[in-house]
Symmetry: C2
Subunit: 364 residues, 2 copies
């Protein structure tokens, strides 16, 4: 699997007249090597792949990661840098006859490129490139889809198990903590993003951060959660009502669910991303909440929790079979709260395959 | 406090003939604004500060963060971008008469700079700058030192509470999870880095990732943990023995502790960073473990868990009073395991003030 991916990259390099590429983006690195560590921020890389246009690839890292690199990145030659990446490249590139070196412009700091230019001098031409590996990653193999399905299912199990914790008096922080703990007890590597738990008016922020707010009787509860299992991410949002739902909550929940179903209907291979967004957005507009839905409808999910494609009002790309997207319409009203419903789906030739169970209990 | 920091930056801009600076690095952003969200990776920024050489500063973000930005960043004008930072800047900069705009080259992607250049055109000169805010952050005020002391103490409390969990049969993952959960129950925002728990030979990796390895009788246990409290990070490593410590463990532990004490003696305002590293390294070399200590002795800690200064064999900077550093000598032996002891200290005029209690129980 990994070898096939490397071969595709190498063919692409040869087609572009490039001698090698540096892979710095962590999900791309894992996709092409099996090497699992996350970066502690872009300034503290766990390693970089150097893939020449032919021949065996290299994993460049520092001594802290040597053992893990050798264990995980089968087929890669591990080289250690002691004084930074640029100096290692300066000794390594001539032996590989690399004159044109591509780098991931979208995951390389401006200052790091400057440093490489200074150290490597005129003998190596640095060529910015974006999206080469991301394009490969957009369409998932059935093996990857199985891993994503497992991640989604595990996430739903965690959610179900934590439902019993939603009681008057619990804080947002404690509920988020219970979710995170349950994820890890269920074998997740980590949450795929900072778990969002928001009660009542706090849910008006699409990216609310859990606070010490205490749950009251008759408040809405928004939970946006995902986990990483075998490298693959899940992402799901549920909005519940703690108590007896009032008619305003139900109307808005129904609107969000209708918008979600409209998008589900619109998704198939060949559909334009922004048309899918519009299908959901129209429902929200028609209900009078057009100004209350400020973000795009969804995004791709895979090794990264946010990846291509984007279901946004501006994206003119067409969906392809094997892509995975979230469908997450929202209605946010300052002072009142927010509704968001988010499921994941696989794009298929004639429609889509939902990875999540609906739990709204609405009969639409 | 924040206003003084802004004024220092503005004076520095005027001194360099710059009209404004974009602050993208998350800890710098928090330091200068009080705006707390972390970034979900550099590709998903929670916002950017625009600080003109005089007049009020701006916080540029998207609608997801609008409420939080307005709540937290007092004195900042919040502007929202809908179609990316560059287009907002294109409309905002002329009204501020900005012709020379600095940006943080060490926290701006190569591709983002390219995009700004394209959108802003020739009317704005982009000037790469690194370290302006980081330099301010290196020396902590007594108020910041109090926050760091509180973070360290909280971290020690969490460690003490979790000690009871170290029992034959627990896995590295479960012990790490217990630590993380206890951190959050004790009010931490989050761990300041991925908690490291390594048993036996796993501890030979300085950045070991917790695994399903089960703790056996008579194994060493390495724990490297830290938390974020009110924005400020702690970072501490302890190496224990589960069972009756053997003489090899004790000899290596003693060597690491002696190295740590040698560094403590060497730290004072004016000391050169690499001399402090060398003081510890010499002890380890003399004991015959020179090749088993592959990383630097320590690093600064503040809003970021790894910041300037670096106590490394290459750093020629001098320590200044009010800097905070870790002192973390290590001995790593593949197949056997590893020892690391890490405490934090404040650099003072005539020595250093340790923020951690020693828990090795060694009488040296």
């Amino acid at each position: 699997m990994i070898q096939q991916r490397i071969h595709k990259i190498q063919a692409s390099l040869r087609g572009r007249g490039l001698d090698a590429i540096l892979i710095t983006e962590p999900s791309n690195r894992r996709y092409l090597s099996g090497y699992t560590p996350a970066d502690h921020g872009i300034q503290e890389s766990s390693g970089v792949l150097l893939i020449p246009k032919k021949g065996g690839p290299f994993l460049l890292t520092d001594s802290r990661f040597e053992l893990q690199a050798k264990e995980e990145a089968a087929g890669f030659r591990v080289e250690l840098y002691r004084k930074g990446l640029s100096l290692l490249l300066k000794t390594l590139l001539p032996s590989l006859d690399v004159k044109r070196l591509a780098f991931e412009s979208h995951y390389m700091l401006h200052s790091s490129v400057g440093r490489m230019e200074t150290v490597l001098g005129k003998q190596v031409e640095l060529v910015p490139l974006t999206g080469l590996v991301e394009q490969l990653r957009e369409v998932k193999s059935e093996e990857e889809i199985s891993l994503l399905r497992a991640s989604v299912r595990r996430n739903e199990e965690v959610f179900q198990q934590a439902l019993g914790r939603i009681k008057t008096g619990i804080t947002e922080i404690d509920l988020a903590l219970a979710l995170d703990t349950t994820m890890r007890q269920h074998g997740a590597e980590r949450p795929s993003f900072d778990t969002i738990v928001a009660f009542g008016a706090n849910a008006a922020k699409p990216h609310a951060v859990p606070s010490n707010r205490v749950l009251q009787e008759n408040e809405l509860v928004l939970i946006d959660m995902g986990l990483v299992l075998d490298g693959y991410c899940s992402d799901m949002t549920r909005t519940l009502f703690h108590g007896q739902p009032d008619s305003m909550f139900l109307e808005r929940l129904r609107t969000a669910r209708k918008a979600q179903l409209a998008a589900v209907k619109a998704i198939r291979a060949g559909a334009v991303c922004r048309d899918v967004d519009q299908a959901a957005r129209q429902v929200i507009n028609d209900a009078g909440y057009g100004r209350c839905f400020g973000h795009g409808l969804g995004h791709g999910v895979g090794l990264a929790v946010h990846e291509a494609p984007r279901l946004s009002p501006r994206c003119r790309k067409r969906l392809r079979a094997g892509m995975i997207v979230t469908i997450e319409p929202g209605i946010y009203i300052p002072g009142w709260g927010g509704i968001r419903l988010e499921n994941m789906a696989v794009v298929r030739d004639n429609g889509c395959e939902l990875l999540n169970e609906d739990t709204t209990g609405l009969d639409l």
